[in-house]
């Protein structure tokens, strides 16, 4: 068994209102960051998991996303990276 650090991005599905992104963008404008065009806020989840190999670590994290970490109705997820640790 090896230890892996898997990073997951969970993002609001396109088309669904993202008030947090909008509010952050507005706040950035007020602070003077006029060049900001758009902001989206999602979750960045780090899972430390024991697995036989990278592939297994990724597969099992994918399953965690499907079952718990992401909401299939409103969110998309993506495995951003898998690193041996």
């Amino acid at each position: 068994m090896n230890r892996y650090r898997v990073a997951v991005h969970i993002t609001p599905r396109r088309g669904i209102l993202d008030p947090q992104g909008r509010t952050v963008a507005d706040a950035l404008h007020t602070l003077g960051f006029a060049a900001v065009r758009d902001v989206h806020v999602g979750r960045h989840i780090i899972v430390d998991v024991d697995a036989a190999d990278r592939g297994a670590a990724e597969r099992s994290t994918r399953e965690m996303c499907e079952r718990l970490l992401a909401n299939p109705v409103t969110e998309d997820f993506e495995i951003a990276s898998v690193e041996a640790s």
């Binding site: 669904i16 209102l17 008030p19 947090q20 509010t23 718990l68 970490l69 909401n71 109705v73 409103t74």
Partner: protein, 230 residues
């Protein structure tokens, strides 16, 4: 009639629901512990408000996997009446008992106030003691109450009369849609296809005593009593 009220870790409106049933309605209520597979022969299940598992990750996401939820889901599938209030609504959506999801309020702030709801369908198990179109005053208190679903789902809910309550009372017009949390189409409560599960963000159990400002929520409990006891 016996109401079973589920206590998840950090449920905090379980006791209020209990009081509403026992004192407000004059019926029996029992608490159901989340770790047990025992619905104690309840006729109706209430998933109460609160912050089950701290609402960490997403409101209701973890609670839906509690042991008792397997029994609640089976009970609902058999046609048993289930009322999900606030966090209970969130849990019911996460568990797939109701369509859609409840996202962070559009204001990004927790909001506590008394709102006006319009009864959109008075034929349901949960609303038959109201007049259709009646406007009732009920408190809300939530941070994640923005009802969200696909357009197809929303269209279908409306066609099938499954939008039970809408937020109304815009500044100009008491009948105007006006959602305190950014809910799509100002939806405050929906029922499932079979009509035996209602989820709503407002707290009818907090509106059962005129001393506290409104007794308009009692109708939800009376409606269930009228149908289930019959």
């Amino acid at each position: 009639m016996k109401f079973g009220i589920v206590t998840f870790p950090a449920s905090n409106c379980d006791y209020d629901a209990y009081q509403a049933v026992v004192e407000g309605l004059g019926e029996d209520a029992v608490f159901l512990w989340h770790k047990e597979h025992d619905l104690k022969q309840s006729d109706v299940i209430i998933l109460p408000g609160g912050f089950s598992y701290g609402d960490y990750l997403r409101a209701g996401a973890i609670a839906r996997f509690s042991p008792v939820m397997q029994d609640v889901i089976a009970f609902a599938k058999r046609g048993g009446p289930v009322l999900g209030i606030c966090n209970g609504f969130q849990i019911a959506c996460e568990a797939g008992l109701l369509p859609g999801a409840l996202l962070r309020n559009a204001s990004l702030k927790f909001v506590c106030e008394t709102v006006q709801l319009r009864v959109e369908n008075s034929d349901t198990l949960f609303t038959n003691r109201y007049e259709r179109g009646a406007i009732i005053r009920v408190p809300i208190a939530h941070g994640d109450g923005r009802y969200t679903a696909s357009d197809e789902t929303l269209d279908r809910l409306e066609q099938e009369g499954r939008v039970a309550f809408r937020y109304v009372g815009g500044p100009a017009d008491a009948d105007e849609w006006w959602s305190p949390n950014g809910s799509m189409r100002a939806i405050g409560g929906v029922v499932n296809e079979a009509g035996n599960v209602l989820g709503l963000m407002p707290h009818p159990e907090r509106a059962v005593d005129p001393l506290l400002g409104s007794a308009d929520g009692l109708g939800v409990f009376e409606s269930m009593l009228a149908r289930v006891a019959a």
